[in-house]
Amino acid sequence: MKKYLFICLVFISCQDEIIIEFPIESQTIVVEGGIEPNMPPYVVLSKNQGYFDEINIDTYNDLFIKDAQVIVWKENEDGTADSILLEMLPPPFDSLPIYTDLNYFTALNNFPYANSGSYNPITLSGGISNDFSKENGTYNLIIRWNDKQITSQTTIPNLTPLDCLWVEKNEFSDLDYEFDINAIYNDPGNINNNIMIKYRKNTHWGVDTTNWTLKDNSDPLMQIIDAGTDILINGERFQTYFPQRGEGDFPTLPYNASRYFEYETSNSTDSIFVPYDVVTIKFCQIDEPALKFWRSLIRQFGSNGNPFQEPLNLVSNINGGYGGWTGYGASYYKIPIIDGFTTNTLLPLDSVEITDLF
């Protein structure tokens, strides 16, 4: 918001809070779901709210729909159909109510009681027996809740992995521990594909300045870097980079390598060692309807409050609801932020953490 105020208010300006009330017109189901090869489909369901309704921890939890019937089905080549009834992960994993294939998760090593209710760092080890979700498969979603039924469809495109990734010092930063994740991507020229990149700092330590100890600042969920078509890059091999998102801003920020954090004590200078970040990059191909959903999401996130922007709703591929149902042709990479680290190896699926999936 501030940047728009800056642009238009080279002149003196002022702002006043005003009271506007809009009653909500109807209850709409909001879907955030995905499916990718060899992984269980998942869906998070919530409801819309009036724009000025209060949100606190309680009302936030009430937003989520926990009693819906969720079915994912696909049509086989022989005309038969396979379906999965998605169910919610059991406690203590139900703080974010995720509907998924319980059979898959219960087969995971150490599931569900490892790590005292935290998702991290449970990997998908042991759960790889899913032949329901495949590349080029088309997957239908049916959700029934309170006499409402909404549907959607998505396709998982073929994977197109990156050629390689490496860690390199950020050229603009004066801080010697700030690094970028660079990559080489070779876009297949024979197809029109849509690309989406997400990241999550699986490990990211900060310093608690009250007692000078490390604190865990890792990301709870994947965050989007960008999504777009290959219309401009079709058939090109080029270098790109995957910055992280700032607070309420476009992704432009580097990651942290290990460093010593120095601080003043009463009579001397001390320091604390802060380990490097470990980042998961999820590089995906997605279909056209899903791309429109993610593009609109990025656009609204980036233009929220822009007074010159015509109001733009998120584009949804959910019939009768809001949100998106996305088939990901996903390639995972785990990148420790160590100067010179280079890889072209996909992260094995049984090493992918649960929260990298959602």
Partner: protein, 794 residues
């Protein structure tokens, strides 16, 4: 009988009306300003006994055909001394006239240069001529004189919001105005994201605004014409004018190239926000010695206007004029190597040849080039990305003015434009690798028209201006012009041809009052695709095609015109009803980038609109105090099947009430005071009504298009111009003082929303962190703004 049939019958009557007068002779010539030698537009030329006469055209030419006899012909232009010539008309006469300044009259401030009762006697309605000298005396934001902002003070014309230089005429959108600068179309008439218009008042000679009853010589837009004529340049002596203001400075030079035969004018203007802010942005932090991360950021605009003219002979004149303007916005952040540069602007060029075939037939031939382009360049490290779009036109037109006798003024001509659209393209670069589409996506179109009109005095009380315009548009698709020429030019699905009738009637009730009516049909073949609430440089111009049908409007207007107190006061009440079809909007869910490097036809949805209203105008045009009160009551609605769930919604610029009061008072020879008061119903805007959560972030849902009306807009400005009385000094100067929004009304400019957390971090929308609430903030810009401008000339 349908209206169209009736119209054709009237037209045929006019064309075949017998010219029975015998022994008619023609007085013709040019009227110019004695001081500068410039041709004068709109000079009344009439017989003093009968008040029958004509006016000079856009090139200062007049032709008056009357019966044999002796006449006292008066040449009158307010602000200049009238000249009456006793003429024995027993043959065709060529009479060129120079009008001198009138010391008495120039002490008064006049609102218009028209013949005093022209508003009563003319068949035109919904047309206004604005005088630059008067505009310059009105208070202005930061002292920047702006012709479009002054036009917004007229009834029927609205602004889009605080400081906007957009034009919204009788419910029409910003792309429905034909904005002409010396006959060249100006596609984006604003600087600084819409705050200022591109027209430098120092270089402007004449402004004619047509908001209804559009004559047949104009076309290609649905709603209005803003026809601006540049000054020609003083052909008698060298002259310099300039001004230094808070935002910009300007300088105009003009003078003879060959005395009384040819002259030039060149006028430039540039802002200096960037120059003033540069030391601040480049300043190093005194403690750390670090450079400011935003060094290199800045904004400026400039424009350059130039014109030369050459009188080849008494019958031939040449004019060459041009405009070049650019806005440049730079943003740099050295912390992350991020840099943005956004240049945009217009360039136009006009070459015109006036030729007088005989005393009754005048011709103007023009070759016109017009270009508008926009770029968005973004770079970070080795990565570069560029979006660019634009439109350029090559236009040729021939216009004839034929005045066979006193009763007829016939205009006919042709107009052809070759359009080249570059709707939206992108290129990029990553290191050594360049990304570019196989070819830049362009679209080509041919637009043509022929027209005929006759302004005809049917009787002493009834005058009719009837015209027909036949327009055509061929979308040539993604091929070159040469390819197009080689292709079949027969009618195909991308070829539109339409007849546009134009009709205006005046019925004189008595010497001081008349009734008028007008009916027009207009087609528009080029469209502005906008996702923005205001006119922005990112908006795209696209041609009509198979998928994008031409816009169409028909407008019916009635008016009552009455002058009081020996033409000291002019009053009018006009009502109008306008229907528009094939209006264009982006489909819901379409993102502007969906058009990039490709055809945008499928990105749009189409609908209808209507607008109706009543406009009341009371003008005082003589005396030490002049000005006007304008009030409009109107309603503008849009109907789109695929927008707003198919329900009708108010247009963004729908205003129920719109009131403007302006006044200028000549206090003394040195001081002129002025004031403006405006009141308008608030803008209709779309607000979020719902929200939902995805990935821990809050997203908003807008459900009712333009369903919320902001608070009313009102403000008062005052101004004063001080001109020291220095006798016999070549160098003259004046000071213009303005106070904008004198009672500092907090007018709503926009409303924004913030999801605020308990930590008061307005940017933190992640509701998992605890309690958050949505708040609405109304932002106001331009509180009380005093300004001073120093103007000079020598």
């Amino acid at each position: 009988m349908s209206f169209k049939k009736l119209f054709f019958l009237i037209l045929i009557q006019l064309i075949t009306f017998p010219i029975v007068a015998q022994n008619n002779f023609t007085i013709s010539g040019f009227v110019q300003d004695d001081n500068s030698g410039e041709n004068l537009i709109g000079v009344s030329v009439y017989d003093k006994e009968t008040f029958k006469g004509t006016v000079t055209n856009a090139y200062g030419f007049y032709s008056l055909t009357i019966e044999e006899g002796t006449y006292n012909i008066t040449y009158s232009f307010i602000g200049l001394e009238s000249v009456t010539k006793n003429l024995i008309v027993d043959k065709d006469l060529r009479v060129n006239i120079s009008l001198k300044s009138n010391a008495i009259l120039t002490d008064e401030v006049t609102i218009t240069g028209e013949k005093l009762d022209k508003n009563i006697s003319s068949s035109n309605m919904s047309q206004v001529k604005m005088e630059v000298t008067n505009i310059k005396q009105l208070p202005a934001i930061l002292g920047e004189v702006d012709v479009i902002k002054s036009a917004q003070l007229l009834p029927g014309i609205t602004a889009n919001g605080e400081g906007s230089s957009g034009l919204y005429v009788r419910g029409g959108g910003p792309d429905q105005n034909l904005i002409l600068l010396d006959e060249a179309v100006v596609y984006n008439a604003s600087h600084l994201f819409g705050f200022f218009s591109v027209f430098n008042a120092d270089a402007i000679k004449d402004i004619n605004i047509i908001k209804g009853g559009m004559p047949a010589e104009y076309g290609g837009r649905l709603s209005s014409v803003l026809d601006i004529t540049m000054k020609e340049g003083n052909n008698k002596k060298f002259k310099a004018d300039g001004g230094i203001g808070l935002l910009s400075s300007r300088l105009t030079l003009q003078g003879p190239i060959q005395k009384n035969k040819s002259s030039f004018i060149i006028s430039g203007r540039r802002t200096y926000i960037d120059v003033l802010s540069k030391p601040l942005l480049n300043r190093e932090n005194p403690e750390t010695g670090e450079k400011n991360a935003f060094a290199g950021s800045g904004y400026y605009f400039y424009d350059l206007t130039t014109k030369i003219n050459y009188r080849v002979s008494d019958k031939d004149r040449l004019y060459l004029s041009g405009y070049f303007g650019r806005d440049v916005f730079d943003f740099a952040n050295s912390d992350n190597g991020f840099a943005v540069q956004i240049p945009w602007g217009n360039a136009t060029g006009s070459l015109r040849w006036n030729h007088l075939f005989n005393d009754k037939l005048f011709m103007n031939t023009s070759l016109v080039f017009s270009d508008y382009r926009f770029e968005f360049n973004i770079a970070q490290s080795d990565f570069e990305f560029k979006i660019f779009s634009g439109i350029n036109d090559w236009n040729t037109k021939v216009d004839f003015l034929y005045q066979p006798n006193q009763r007829h003024t016939i205009k006919f001509g042709t107009n052809y434009t070759y359009h080249e659209f570059t709707p939206g393209n992108a290129t990029g670069k990553a290191g050594e690798v360049t990304f570019a589409p196989d070819e830049i996506y362009r679209q080509y179109s041919n637009e043509g028209a022929i027209y005929f009109s006759d302004d005809f005095e049917l009787s002493d009380v009834l005058k009719i201006n009837a015209g027909l315009r036949y327009s055509s548009f061929q979308h040539a698709g993604d091929i070159t012009f040469l390819n197009y020429l080689k292709n079949d030019l027969t009618l195909n699905s991308n070829n539109y041809r339409h007849i546009e009738p134009r009709l205006s009637l005046r019925y004189t009730l008595n010497p001081t009052s008349s009734l008028k009516a007008a009916y027009t049909e207009n087609y528009q073949y080029v469209h502005l695709a906008s996702t923005s609430a205001v006119s922005l440089p990112t908006d795209l111009w696209v041609p009509s095609s198979t998928a994008i049908k031409p816009k169409f409007a028909k407008q019916l207007a009635f008016g009552y015109f009455k002058n009081l107190n020996d033409n000291m006061y002019e009053t009018s009440v006009e009502s109008y009803y306008k229907e528009m079809t094939n209006l264009i909007e982006y489909k819901e869910g379409v993102l502007p980038e969906d058009n990039t490097n490709s055809n945008s036809d499928n990105a749009f949805t189409f609908g209808d609109g209507d607008s109706y209203g009543v406009e009341v105008l009371l003008k005082k045009v003589q005396g030490k105090t002049t000005g006007w009160i304008g009030y409009t009551l109107s309603k503008t609605t849009r109907y789109f099947d695929e927008v707003n769930n198919g329900e009708s919604f108010p247009a963004k610029y729908d205003r129920r009430h719109d009131l403007s009061v302006t006044a200028t008072h000549k206090l003394s020879k040195a001081w002129t005071l002025s004031g403006v008061f405006v009141y308008a119903s608030g803008n209709s805007i779309t607000l979020p009504t719902e929200r939902y959560v995805i990935g821990g972030d809050v997203y908003t849902q807008f459900t009712s298009r333009n369903g919320y009306r902001m608070d009313p807009y009102h403000r008062m400005d005052i101004g004063a111009t001080y001109t020291p009385n220095k006798k016999n000094k070549k160098f003259k100067s004046s000071w213009n003082f303005s106070i904008y929004n004198i009672y500092s009304r907090k007018n709503p400019y926009f409303i924004y929303f913030a999801i605020e957390g308990l930590d008061d971090n307005a940017e933190d929308q992640n509701i998992q962190n605890g309690n958050v609430e949505a708040k609405a903030y109304q932002v106001s810009i331009f509180p009380i703004l005093p300004s001073v401008t120093w103007n000079f000339n020598f």
